[in-house]
Symmetry: C2
Subunit: 296 residues, 2 copies
């Protein structure tokens, strides 16, 4: 069966004009090339070179193979170079899912900067994984999941990125603004504005209201962070958002208060496969996440 080695030999013979010189550039002996071609000719049952001429002249069959070499070898070499970039950490695939909805706010700027430094990394944000993101990571459908509850395993690593505090956001002059901190019962008469995801995935419910058996007066779901802040400022309700959202926002007209006496805190993690952990492109990305909105 023909192999790439044969195509490389044919190209070298054409380039160098003789078996002997081609053999040199291929780091082979003239004999090796002669045997190689003879084997090809035996395999196909037709001569590739006219032997009555010196140097050898290609037959039509030989030319067909030389053409094939020209078609095929550049593609092979390109793939080869690409894999080499993967091997030394310059290239990789970074398909991200985010479990935390508000993370778009810091992630997009980070990605923007990152992709300039790592042009060979194929970046994507994949929606629609929901709570299945971590299994999808193990399966190889994803490469990184932004998550706030680490469940490391043999195959997966959870790299801590940064701590955050979820705080209640309310309009300037709201009655609750006089409190030092917020208790669950305080929200009984409030309209709570949240991202449009199921309650079980919202920490306010899971960790704050539900344990106390409190239900807010109403819930309103809004997609965009900026709109949530606008609604809060115009006294349409209150919201619970991580502190980075508020630090990064240029909007005004609201203040924040801790949830509970100690505040509701957490740590954001990047879940990755252990096998990707050493790669330069991955380490750089995690470093960029930690630096977050650092000056460009």
């Amino acid at each position: 069966m023909i192999e790439l080695r044969h195509l490389r030999s044919l190209q070298a013979i054409e380039r160098e004009g003789s078996l002997a010189r081609a053999a040199e550039t291929l780091h082979l002996t003239q004999s090796a090339l002669s045997h190689q071609i003879k084997a090809l000719e035996r395999y196909y049952g037709t001569p590739l070179y006219l032997r009555s001429t010196r140097p050898l002249a290609l037959t039509a069959a030989g030319m067909r193979l030389l053409t094939l070499a020209g078609e095929v070898l550049p593609a092979v070499d390109a793939a080869d170079a690409a894999l080499r970039r993967v091997a030394d950490g310059r290239a990789g695939r970074l398909h991200i899912a985010i479990e935390c909805h508000a993370c778009f706010d810091w992630l997009l700027p980070v990605l923007d900067r990152y992709r300039q430094d790592w042009p060979d990394v194929e970046i994507d944000i994949r929606p629609g994984f929901g709570f299945d993101a971590v299994p999808a990571l193990a399966r190889g459908d994803l490469d990184l999941v932004i998550s706030s509850d680490p469940r490391a395993g043999r195959e997966l690593v959870f790299e801590p990125l940064f701590d955050y505090e979820a705080r209640l956001v309310l309009a300037d002059g709201h009655p609750l603004a006089r409190r030092e901190f917020i208790e669950p019962a305080d929200l009984r008469e409030e309209t709570l504005i949240t991202y449009p995801i199921e309650r079980s995935r919202l920490d306010v419910f899971a960790k704050f209201l539900q344990p106390a058996g409190v239900e807010p007066r109403a819930i309103r779901q809004v997609e965009l962070t900026a709109i949530i802040l606008l609604l809060v400022a115009t006294r349409k309700g209150v919201a619970v958002l991580p502190d980075w959202v508020l630090a990064a926002s240029s909007q005004g007209g609201f203040i924040t208060r801790p949830l509970g006496p100690g505040g509701m805190r957490g740590t954001l993690h990047a879940a990755i496969r252990r096998s990707d952990g050493e790669a330069a492109w991955m380490q750089a990305f995690i470093a960029d996440c930690r630096a977050k909105a650092a000056p460009a």
Copy 2:
């Protein structure tokens, strides 16, 4: 170094969904495939499959190679099929040169018929070889030369095609028409119409006039056979043409006479490389030439 074998394995694994099944279709063992992939991974220094999943899932690097396989293998298989056609005599290259100018008249119809039966033979008529056609045949620049003087060698074979007689063509009622045959001196007062090639390559001169030291009154060179016949019929001169030209012509107004008492005869040959002599496409072509203008 990566080889086509590896690309075929990757494709089979993708197709079959597991090493074991892929191994079957490749007529290998599962172990062989496992070793093969491990070798590739060692070579590139990066995993091609995630091992923590069953069946194996491709990594980004693995996908790059699978893509390469898709690009490259169809081209390889196409070339392979083409060479197989060459090997069993269905395909070949037929680059023809003709030493005899009038041969166009029977060759073109023959080629027309031939190429319908042998679509995989690459046909061309290569002008500009002149007397160097036979060496060019040995060098592999040509594959067949129509020639009237056989000089066979170790490398070359001259296949006889058919006999012909070169006859003097003259207008009906021309004074020379009363002769049984023509002698050199008869042309002393005639205008001789020839193809536009050097005198040494025209048999009338080389074999008939020159030996007798006779020079015609004038020479006129004309490219096309039909025009030559027209000029003869309209008494602008006489010409020497092989008999097949006259047999095939539908024009009238002229008669022919032998040159010398026995006529000037020759045999047309097809010069080919001995290595092409066995090929089915070549034998068929020579047979077609011998049959000449046989009914289609």
